[in-house]
Symmetry: C5
Subunit: 331 residues, 5 copies
């Protein structure tokens, strides 16, 4: 039975022969189980304490530094070979909340000749589904620990896909906002936040290129040749996401500059409109000022229709200005 995600310690520990679960093991029975050559042990841990990790270390004869890494977490994705075992660090990711932010966890994997140990940190999604899925295809699971490693990497990179897609969608929505409407002080902040998310996601994904590369190209212990095409598959996914992220980053940079440029155009337009209306108020004011002067001899003032003519003059001046500004595109 799968414990709740909150519980830490041993999640599951079993021996597999020909891809079929043959025994559930206690941690202290592992060393003995490892002596049988026709089976492998798969141990799953969740945020183990140091005592448990040390016990596991003794059972599997793991390297000190790898155990320290597995305990401390906060590693970047990497692959290391310690004597007989391959140690892989993966970062898991989930995007949630409002506004959404990306939360990262970590999964560490030890791949030995006949064992695989996974240590999960902080990830909200349990790997239980993964084990169940693997057990459904015993002909593949029979390939041994390397296949489990592949399944896990596939599982983790599949978590990135919806995040990358949602970021891609938000960039696209942002385009519409920026290019369509000018009311966009919020757009700048969103560009910044998207870029920050893309950069943090990239940090989790891009080291996987190197990890996959080594898994599919070089002779690593415990990674049989016939599992390499599987890692090539993960490699393809990783490369695609990396490319998507880079394209989105460049688009965001351009979007920010385009936004600034459109702001400048808008400001220019506002300034022109402002100037036009200012002129249409200032000219009648000037005319009124003139006929407000107190000279003794101002013949128009005495004229019966002077007032009306002055009003008409003001109206004509404004109308002329209006038409002129309209024509030259200032209004």
């Amino acid at each position: 039975m799968e414990p709740s995600p909150g519980a830490s310690g041993v999640i599951n520990c079993a021996a597999y022969a020909a891809g079929i679960r043959v025994a559930d093991l206690a941690v202290e029975d592992i060393e003995q189980a490892l002596t049988r050559k026709d089976q492998f042990v798969w141990l799953g841990l969740y945020e183990p304490d140091e005592a448990l990790l040390r016990q596991v270390q003794r059972q599997f004869h793991l390297h000190d530094l790898a155990i320290e890494d597995a305990y401390n977490a906060h590693q970047r994705p990497k692959l290391e070979v310690y004597e007989g075992s391959v140690f892989v660090v993966l970062r898991t990711a989930q995007r949630h909340g409002t506004p959404p932010h990306i939360e990262f966890g970590e999964t560490h994997v030890f791949v030995g000749p006949n064992y695989v140990v996974t240590v999960r940190h902080g990830s909200l999604r349990s790997h239980a589904g993964l084990r169940a899925r693997c057990e459904c295809t015993p002909q593949l699971l029979a390939k041994g620990p390397a296949y489990v490693l592949y399944a896990l990497m596939d599982f983790v990179t599949d978590q990135y896909l919806p995040i990358v897609s949602s970021l891609e969608d938000e960039v696209e929505e942002l385009e519409e906002v920026i290019l369509g409407d000018e009311r966009t002080a919020g757009a700048t902040a969103q560009i910044y936040r998207l870029k920050r998310d893309l950069l943090s996601l990239r940090r989790a994904i891009s080291p996987l290129v190197e990890v996959c590369n080594r898994l599919m190209r070089f002779d690593l212990p415990n990674i049989p040749d016939d599992t390499r095409p599987y890692f090539r598959d993960v490699y393809d996914h990783v490369i695609r996401m990396n490319e998507t992220i880079d394209v989105q980053r460049e688009l965001l940079t351009t979007a920010l500059e385009a936004h600034l440029s459109l702001m400048s155009v808008a400001q220019n337009d506002h300034m022109k409109r402002l100037a036009a209306w200012a002129a249409m108020i200032a000219v009648p004011t000037m005319i009124a000022g003139i006929y407000g002067m107190n000279f003794a001899n101002m013949p128009e003032l005495a004229w019966k229709y002077g007032y009306y003519v002055s009003l008409v003059t003001m109206g004509l001046a404004c109308g002329g200005l209006y038409v002129g500004f309209k024509r030259s595109g200032w209004l």
Copy 2:
């Protein structure tokens, strides 16, 4: 007979000997035809369902992962070697609509020692013309499956050329708009859209550099030495388009900055013109205000020509300002 582009499944399946079509085959007869060493089979599929793909897999003994790729589509261009066969993914592209946007499709190719299987996804243009063209040059088609791969890559990259050219032309038109006339809020949006299109096109084209590189440099199964110069030819096209795209991207970046700079110049000019006209209205208003004061003792007011002199003064002030502003380039 070629089915309509909407139909999916087997488009064409034939055996070729010495570059000449010798037999039309049903899918279930392929395995037997493959036993004959002096001929090769060319099978063309369009968006096949899984059942058909599995049948094809059995006939040609293709690898599971390659079949999955061919079924799922959404791959990036790549070349992979699975045991005895070379698997190539290409992206097809077409630009249409108003405003034009680029639509991508995919073509997957399996190249075996004596067969070639093409799987087309989403592409609007059928490959029928390609098969016909190949059959016209039997001396080249006699080179076998690798030549078909070349012909297909040439066909696909030739589709990119008009798109790259049209983008190049639009960048050139944009230059005229930006550098010539200031009425260009739409220019910013177009720069953004062009950049986005160039980036998406680049994602389809640039992985082909690596694909061609491997085809022309390394020992791949089923790619005979005498076909390498052909792949070098495709390589040259791809490199050229890549370069064109990169140059256009850099030009667009510069164009966006130049646009912003010109906006700033224009704004400055408008502000100066605005200030000049404002001064020419404000000065007479001020003079009029002064003679509108109600002081008992204002000798000018009583003077017979005071009004006219004040009008002339206003006119002179405005004229002087106009000339001064003209000279200093504010008007």
Copy 3:
């Protein structure tokens, strides 16, 4: 006894056998101690004068150029092999003061077959804790001079971590300032200062990638195979900090652009608000100007309620403008 940080010269000099301190040595006894194969000598210097350095050189037979480097300081981090000894330059860093700035020191290490010499320059923190810590784990110290090198590199890179973290935190605070509030002339200066600090920190850290790479990959004298995983550990730390710095740099660049963009939005908003209020003052002024004209025949002037109607008209005009500006978002 550890001298005060201000004192220069020999800080500590001892011989170690099987990881345990077996003898405190005077500088002139070193050469003889080096003849014993089962122990190694660890000499610690702080800003030695040339005479002392020359004496040390004679005792250990060190290379001229390395001694010159160790005397002059102002080196970039590097690893060099001089005949039988490995020479490593590290930069130490501390961030303090208000506003905080980064102060760099230098530590030079000579790693021989059975000796390790450390020369510290300008660093405020003594390495005494390091020696004590090493002596606590004799089973590790027994690995010899290479382990001391590791311990020192670990010690130095651990000093960077809080600096990198504090810079990261400041970038995050800055985001809030820039994206939240517009009163931010100081933000620009802080972006600039953070970028400068990141660049100077990067110069200290990034050469360590190459140094660690050589220590963990290539056959260097005096670096036994079983210490390589330790250097890989340092390598991981260095890579992570490098990545963090690069991400922060890119974020700062985006932040500066976002800041400019938001300034432009704000300026536009201010201009629109200004224009709106200007209109609401100018229109009553214009109306007042009209009724301030001195035409003999202005029927409204004689009307009893003329004045009140004009005031109401002004109020209505202002109200109408206010509502209109509110609706169009200018106010």
Copy 4:
């Protein structure tokens, strides 16, 4: 006799022994001439039609794809090896017109063991001078076809030099314009055009780095060891021009940003000056307005010197403002 540049076809065809022209050949005699081991044939073509190219192909046994390239032109600079012959594509360039633009041509060279064929496209300058110059130094021409290739590459890259220099000069003039004087809407357009020219020139020059590299480093057929220093010479020129272009590109980017920055400074200055003058007009207008009020009881109005004092007050206010604005740098 050299035909006019407009004429196409065979420009010159001759056999050379020990660097001296020994026979003028018709195209149909080439194959026979090639059988003599002590001489080589140099054929020069200008925009040949397909029939002539096919004839030439038969005489020299050239590869199909190279001939197609030579016919189509629009290649990027490259070096390819087809069986026994080296095929080089070069781009020629000339800058002329007002405003100057760069016009590109192409020259293709086939270098065989005892022949060299040059095919010129679109270039305005004939290569006749080149052949004459080569014939003047028979001791060098005796090195054979590879020397002709060198001479041609040297000739072509020498055409770039004045273009690169003139662009460099224009960038320098632009600096003066931008940094010295603010009347520079045209400067932005020129920056853009210079950048576009630099980018197109770069596309012609930068692939030559790789071409020279292969000629001076790798074992290519028909390129004897003692000609390699010559290609290294061309390589140096190409690298230098590449560097110059890159420096100019970066300077132009900085210039554009500096321009924007200076525009912003200028706009700020204009706004401040505008505000100062506006204040100096607005204050007297306000004072005049106050004394234009029609209150029954305004003692100043009745005062004999009221008018003069109000004028002096206005003058003093303006003077005070003027001095204040001058001091704070707004005027």
Copy 5:
């Protein structure tokens, strides 16, 4: 005796045995001196004419192309191997004048098995001090021509250091100007000029990385193994200066953007202050306008204290605006 820097031709020519000057030679005696295996010849030239260079070429059997390079100057720094001799081009630099600009010279060095020839172009500082210094350390000079090459490279790169430092200092001063005070139209120009100087300096320094790399890593003729640590020393200097230049370039880019951003902030502030003062003048003007209307029935006009109340109202309005603007940060 050292000729004045203006004199060209042979500066000094001597034979050295075991690091000690054993004979001063005339150019025509060189060839004979070269036959003695226990000594080497060091010839120093300053802007030699072609005749002298040809004579030198015959004496040392130097390669044609190297002599041409040495005659023409305007090379980029490089290292080339011509048969038995190593040819190195270095660029010398001096920064002087007001405003300071960088002047470049060139020094070419031929390093043979038992000779070293230096050709100086345009450099203002003679190399005489260098020769004297070498002669002071005969035990080092005894290492032969390679040591002279090292001494020269060290001498040349040491000239860069003060230039790089002064540029670094100016960038730092600029920071203060930009971040502290807004009166900075000159700052933009200075950023541009500093960037241009850094780019030109970089062109002189960065190729030395490759030159030093080859000298310290690869088997070059005439460069004995025990001189390699010396070139590694030069390499370190060059790398450090390169890094400094790159950091300064990036800082300048950021400074330019920060400057623009601060300009924008300042402009915004000025606009707000302007608006505030405009409002404080416009409101009394409006009130005065209202009481300047000529309606027959305006009760306030007849009121004894109307005028004073209106003045107080104006004052209160202005005071209220002032306080409000102060609070909202517009003043």
